[in-house]
Amino acid sequence: MTGKERMLAAFSRREPDRVPVWEMAFNEESIIKLGKFYTDDLPPMKFAQQMTVEEKIKLLSTLFTVAKELELDGITAIGLLGTEPVDDEHVRDGWGRVLRVSEEGEATAVGGPVTEPSDLKGLQAYHPQPADFLMLMAAVGNLGTDIAQVLVQPGPFRESWSLLGSMEKLLYHYIKNPGFVKDLAQVATDYILEVVDMAADNGADIIALDGDLAFNQTTLMSPAQYEEYVFPYHQQITEHAHRRGKLIFKHSDGNMWPIMDGIADAGFDGFHPVQPQCMEIGEVKVKYGNRLCILGNIDCTYLLPFGSEEEVAESVKETIRVAAPGGGYIISSSNSIHPGCKPENYIAMVKAAREYGAYPIDIAD
């Protein structure tokens, strides 16, 4: 089977020839550290936003080399929204959102073009541009159609709070101004639908809807608030993706148990990453394995950064034993390969997935 066939089989909850291996994200530093195992032609260690075009191309090319060498079954592209620098630590995007860049993770909105309901009238909506999909196009051009092409796009919750420049402000309006929250979510959703169209036109097979809805303890909003302020927009997006013949899954860290029914009912095809500190993957498999493909679960908080290669292999083996039988499981870390993860441990994770992930799964308790 090709990587793409494996990924699609898992999403159909059928058994492929082996458990697919894919990753939601690698940071710049992680790509370069992994790249050192396979090539000497590496970009300098800095944020993508601070790289020249040539250095960005080299970074992407390093990522594709890693994907080929490790025979990953899917590759994830992010939207490369154009930004202009504000100062050393901040950039502004096409929506007018001010983002703080970070060496340890993705940029986060700290200021938005909307502060109150009346701002929505004058808001100049940003429409996705072909250049935003350059990473996807490069992935399709370099890795072809034998590998599943995943495009990650923030969901309506994250896009909404980014427009306000603060998650707390959005959650405050959940109580104070429900109409405003819904209007913002629709602005965000209209934009996301355009992104889904352009992703589909440019070769994406799967959409990853990003943006955490939970933290370690519980969800950021109550199940009733999810139903009112997030679910209808999720539904619009999943229906649109399916009309375009694309799969779509929800990503959220944290304890998502309170709204897992909603995630399945909203029409998502999968759920990522089943953070092991908050959710037990065997239980997710039992309760939702007949409705959702399960992705993730290999701990990137402690295990991949600080564990040994043997411990990583043992965790992969146990996770495959619990989650893979019957299909419907794609292995990945419990969020991303961030700069704290040892590259050796990621390589050990991929190797162990190959060792233990051949179907039919035959791992004793």
Binding site: E104, T108, M167, Q225, G340
Partner: protein, 208 residues
């Protein structure tokens, strides 16, 4: 008078900022002791929302609106509190260098304020030297360090060490998604809490 205290508590619980301010002002005008308003209405309201949050009855939106009502009510009340009554202590909060996440720390700030602490929040991605400078400037009763990522969490012990070099008796609390009691102990911190409400409780416990 009890009806005003009950009214303030209810107004904070449902996040009615204007009602909270109005009732606090009414109470003061009618001769309610400022300390009574704080201890018998405002702080119990935040404890109540904390209990509901811990039991899964309330979520972050309910907490945020209650904390905002509390904050606005405190603005009315504060000028009337005598120096010694001005709260539970001073907390200096920040997220360690490399970590730009703010919501966890901001929730801790809200809960600390709700528990009567004065809070100086020095923001996110704070370099170790800046923690030391801010500690020197504010001399807080408690320093709170936050990290969301297991990579940035590694900077916590460095900050603890640097602040202790400034003041060996500094009381330091740590928290954030990847932080555990074991990590807090190994970092030399005095306190750890798994969530924002527990952090406020722990802070009080450490100072008593």
């Amino acid at each position: 008078m009890q009806d005003i205290l009950d009214g303030i508590k209810r107004a904070i619980l449902v996040g009615e900022e204007e009602e909270t301010k109005k009732l606090v002002a009414d109470g003061l005008e009618k001769g309610l002791e400022p300390r009574r308003i704080m201890e018998e209405a405002m702080m119990p309201a935040m404890e109540d929302i904390g209990e509901r949050f811990s039991s899964g009855e309330a979520f972050i939106p309910e907490l945020i609106v209650a904390a905002e009502a509390m904050r606005q009510g405190m603005e009315v009340l504060k000028p009337h509190l005598a120096g010694a009554e001005r709260g539970s202590g001073l907390v200096l909060l920040g997220t360690v260098h490399g970590d730009i996440h703010s919501i966890g720390k901001n929730l801790v700030r809200m809960c600390m304020e709700g528990a009567g602490f004065e809070v100086v929040d020095i923001g996110e991605d704070v370099k170790t030297e800046k923690f030391v400078e801010a500690f020197r400037e504010h001399r807080p009763d408690i320093l709170g360090l936050s990290a969301l990522l297991s990579s940035t969490m590694q900077r916590i012990p460095e900050v603890v060490e640097a602040v202790r070099a400034e003041d060996k008796n500094a009381v330091i609390m740590v928290g954030g998604a990847p932080v555990t009691q074991d990590f807090a102990d190994r970092s030399g911190a005095d306190g750890y809490a798994p969530n924002a409400f527990e952090a406020a409780r722990k802070a009080k416990e450490l100072l008593n």
